[in-house]
Symmetry: C2
Subunit: 298 residues, 2 copies
Amino acid sequence: MNKIIECVPNFSEGRNRKKIEKIVDCFRAKPGVKLLDYSSDADHNRSVITVVGELEAMKNAMIEAIGTAVKLIDLTKQSGEHPRMGAVDVVPFIPINNVTMDEAIALSKEVGMEVAEKFKLPVFLYEASATSKHRENLADVRRGEFEGLAKKMKRREWRADFGPKYPHPTAGAVAIGARKPLIAYNINLSTNNVEIANAIAKKVRHSSGGLRYCKAIGIELKKRGIAQVSMNLTDYTKTSLYSVHEMVRMEAMRYGVTIIGSEVIGLVPMAALAESAAYYLGIENFSINQVLEAKLLE
Amino acid sequence: MNKIIECVPNFSEGRNRKKIEKIVDCFRAKPGVKLLDYSSDADHNRSVITVVGELEAMKNAMIEAIGTAVKLIDLTKQSGEHPRMGAVDVVPFIPINNVTMDEAIALSKEVGMEVAEKFKLPVFLYEASATSKHRENLADVRRGEFEGLAKKMKRREWRADFGPKYPHPTAGAVAIGARKPLIAYNINLSTNNVEIANAIAKKVRHSSGGLRYCKAIGIELKKRGIAQVSMNLTDYTKTSLYSVHEMVRMEAMRYGVTIIGSEVIGLVPMAALAESAAYYLGIENFSINQVLEAKLLE
């Protein structure tokens, strides 16, 4: 199989169908690029697009999409639940097949340089592409959001990697980088007490003593009347779905709370599910090469 | 994607590496045929090969492999845990992509006719290719094994569909047919008592009151000093991996026995593992379209 990279750009527009479609169009009917999925959320006022493709084709489509979003989205008039610092908020490149992390990093920098020049858009490199430790974490890069960006960029340690020294007047700035596949996995609890969800999240997540590649927060799902442990697994090959599931179950026991369900947001790599199946089914010496579709994709 | 059929022939040789390789060679470096996997088990004295390919190429390679096995394997000198009636015990054709069950049945009959004539090998059509209801089930076709075959074939209802009226002197007979994808799933127990494995198998399998698409027998793994429930799931979309796992666990409890591990023989469809992961992880509204690789294969 060819070199295949995935990209999951986030755009700060989740309401205006016409604008969203114009951005998505940049990935449609392009040779070498395949649009896998896109979803928009009106509350968050954000759209997330998932595309896979060959490196050069992906680069060109991504630059076109960023240009389109910069033209269409005006952050001075935009608001929503989701934190954002740019019309194109974040552009992660994820190695999928025959692509190394170094190649993904190189691609992210090429895209960054081009969009900075073409659209006068400041670019922050983040995650594996970050040029400094304090810029790795997206939350840190984005802190202050669009409204605080002009002030933030005046500080030496928050100068953009590419592009102007000040925010784009309507499109802010963009974070571009390479990262491993990420799994968004949320566990629903038999309680509506968000304090309990938060206490569990604290035990499970890396930052407060939990599992190395797990980020977690407690949130309340008001409509369903339940609390949820909302997680991102940043390296599922090392911190597994079943590990976080069992750890949440174990911590929840302390409060007499049980897991009533869970959800995977967006796409999940086959290997992550296969590994959890192998764990629970107790399959000895399981290899991903035993999966028919893995062989077919070879 | 082209018309693709899968074939998972079972050969009654799991010890002699040289013979096994000669059989496997029939599927190597053949245009239109792709060897996906093969595994041999010394206790079972059996090798299972998994190949996918285009219809005509698959037919030719399969005929060559059957001829090779008939020449190399002498059942009068063979013994093992696994029941068998032929040097080539069973040859199932499985529609994978753009192939109907009727096309798979037609192919199985073409192969059956040719090998019957070429190698003087009696052929029983089974599963979807069976010419009569009582020949559908492989266990029924195989009952009596190689040693009882001559006597069995004298009965009108057990005449071969193609080929001679008596077994091949060293290669017995072969069952050929078309079927849905099957999962070979074995569960290892914390006991060496094969009676317990048999009692559990009886509870779990369809034929004696268990799950609709589960076949099961108890087997002793002498080398490891344990007993095993050896199963075939004939429609994993209806009888799931997790269902048989939990049912075996539940029945084993009665004897104070636990599951110490399991194994999947050959290839397993992604959907079967994904469904079991979704069960244990409690994923709500899970769809196979959330798996990245499913999207890539579309």
